[in-house]
Amino acid sequence: MSKTNKKGKKVSRRKFLVRGGLGTLGVLAVGTYLFRNPIRRNILAYANSMDMAYMGSGMEPMIWFEVTSDNQIILHSPKVEMGQGTFTGLAQMAADELDVSMNQIQIVHAQTDTGNIDTFSTGGSTSVAGLWQPLRELAATMREMIKVEGAKKLGVSVNEISSENAQLTAAGNSITYADAVKDVTEWEVPNTPPLRDLKEYKFIGKPIARIDLEAKVFGDPIFGLDAEMPDMLYGAVVRPDKIGATFVSSDTSAAESMPGVVQIIQEEDFVGVVARSYSEAENAKQAIKVDWSVERDWSSEEIQAILQVGEGNASLIQKEGSDIDDSSEVIEMEFSSPIGAHAQIEPNGVLAYVNGDKATIHISTQVVNLTRKEVAKRLGFDEVQVNIVPTYLGGGFGRRLHTPHAVQAAVMSRIVGKPVKYCFSRKEEFQHDMFRPPTHHVLKANLDESGMIKAIRHDFSSGDVAIDSPLLPGFVHSILGADVGAIRGGFCQYSAIPNIRTVSWHVELPFATSWWRSLGLLANTFAWESFMDELAVKSGKDPVSFRLAHIQDDEAGTRLKAVIQAAAVKANYTDEIVDGRAMGFAASTDAGTPCAQVAEVSLKNGKIKVHKVTCAMDPGVAVNPDQVKAQCEGSIIMGISASLFEKMEIRNSELSPTIYGPYQMALMKHAPKEIDVVLLQGIDKPGPVGEPPLGPIGAAIANAVYRLTGERLTAMPLQA
């Protein structure tokens, strides 16, 4: 069997270990679950562990790797780089099996035309973990394919050849990879060779500098908004200020005669303008008057009211032993978190060119495949007629899982017959974000005579995270009942507690909410770990040994205990206040990665100041320990920002603030001066990294403030 790839070279039969979607699911990270229905159990396990198999279509080494004439390997990545360091990790993994050095490998985003398309997304901290096996197998196979060609050129048999630094050597003769493969017309693809032992790798596990470091330090034009095409025009689309607004009519007469306006765009579902420059498009947009109809007014208070536990639809997602015993003493606390914005610095934007029966879309997107599908559908094209050119993302955080702007730009481009670039204003970013949903939590526990937890129950309520997401098969929600995103971090990780109930409540909110880095983890962990701290205090134990006493010695428990102990030791955890500073402790398990943090906090004029954070995390194999640390540092600072400052409000159906500053975020002065990260390796493969360290920080800060003031902070943003 053979087929022809894009370079016209024949590909013969090969075998790869390809893993499919929901078929191979990880072991549950915590507890056991109620469900006897294996499908439901699997989906829940998947949602909790995010043990995501690679769901790409590209399994031919030739669509992943290119050998250039100057002996460089170009890796075409179906995953996008949004700051999380994935490109560097993937390059390390590939280089180690390809036998090339780090300066012999480059990595670029795979355009969809290459056929190397990831059908899921870049998100959920799955890129390096999910590609760990397939990418190394692809690279090893490619290496063997190059050897086969080299053997022919050198006149030796394949097993006489050794490979190093993109060079093949046999019997004293050498040939570069480039020379070995330069006139290959038909590749012979061997069976997948065995992978090397972890110890043999030269780059995996080393703190290699980011592969995109220079591009980012010297200001190279690598982002979506930097894309250019000849004769490009600029678009703008009018958006309502109020939530739930629907289009009635528009008056574009004033805008039509504005300087630089090329065309007013009137579509069924949007009104826009195309002009010669960004400023002219924006000015004309301001002059378009749109009549919107708004059914009713919403306020933050009303959202709060419908969000209360008990208001929405409940699903029991964790059941162990029996429920809380209401007849004995019940300790109960409530917690809440606000609406959060993504606030990534690069606004959403796109450059689209529809030229005849072909569309080209340059865009910062986390959902390359979905963006292509949506554009194709709107244009009435087949998907192969649309080439998505993914760019580096100026921040992702889940915001770029939704790209309807690509469709709008494509429509505008088709109408004017030229490339059209368009981006959101910052106000539009804030008002039309797909927000982190607000949450409400009720926790209850019974303690026994010795102060151990006998029974615990977590009820949490959230707006949509993953429900109705085009990224997940529709059956996930209908089978499960619960929102697989909102439940991240919602489970009880204290597996030694005999009686556990976790109930997820789902409410419909009148504005769009979705995935925000770590999904439900930040808010759920804030609630869980503040409550655990309270229970430790109630039972007269220190928060570290109290936690350890409630964890079983299974694999997940052993890893969780190890990070808790490591964080406590590294931070010299104490319940005492030293020099006006107190420590707060918290831990979480997200997507199978346990993480514990200690925050050192003081209060100055009633303001919370975080001086130092110690973080112990077990991501399994840290492919690039420096970048794993960078993800911990970044998550901690983003978590401080969300925990102390960030909050969207709704007045008369208008979301605000609409600009940085009023939407307060952590700045340089708020970042801890010390962040100490300890990495453990409890398993021999890489686990998720980009989101798990966001879990504990909110609770760690709140628990430190409790030690300073005796007051439990129960609402984010935290105010002492």
């Binding site: 300087p259 690069e346 960078a630 600072i637 340089m668 001066k673």
Partner: protein
């Protein structure tokens, strides 16, 4: 109107229809220097920071007409791969960027700070470096700013280096 200025050491005369056009768009879209970024358009994030006569300026909120006769430096003119500015050198050594989008603005703000305060304290940094980084790279940036100050001092004063 014709507006003349220097950019990264080169004299430019630009035909500009509306003198109130933000300098950012002239630089990005007319001069095609893409290193200066758009984040908010309201002087609130600092992604568009560049130097005008050595001062850090948020170019999204600076009308191009005011640039007449001035000298502008963008990230492309700060240094290059062969000859990086001390700030860029320090940024590389500390592996600061994550997504990287905010970084040119921070590096330009830092370059301006080091001209005024060659050895900034943590407090100086807190007061003067007020851009927004969503990826949360502040921890490494602070280390890089101190390191840049050191690299700069050593390059000026080779005897003590």
């Amino acid at each position: 109107m014709t507006i003349s200025f220097q950019i990264n050491g080169q004299a430019k005369s630009m035909d500009i229809e509306d003198g109130n056009t933000p300098l950012l768009w002239v630089i990005r879209d007319m001069l095609n220097h893409k290193g200066t970024k758009f984040g908010c358009g309201k002087a609130a994030c600092g992604a568009c920071t560049l130097l005008i006569d050595g001062e850090a300026v948020r170019s999204c909120s600076y009308a191009v007409k005011f640039a007449a006769g001035k000298s502008i430096t963008t990230i492309e003119g700060l240094g290059n791969k062969e000859n990086p500015h001390p700030v860029q050198q320090a940024w590389i050594e500390e592996i600061v960027p994550q997504c990287g989008y905010c970084q040119p603005g921070f590096m330009m703000a830092t370059a301006a700070l080091l001209e005024k305060i060659p050895q900034p304290t943590d407090e100086d940094i807190d007061k003067n470096i007020i851009n927004v980084c969503r990826c949360g790279t502040y921890y490494r940036m602070r280390k890089a700013i101190h390191k840049a100050a050191q690299i700069k001092a050593e390059s000026i004063d080779p005897i003590n280096s």
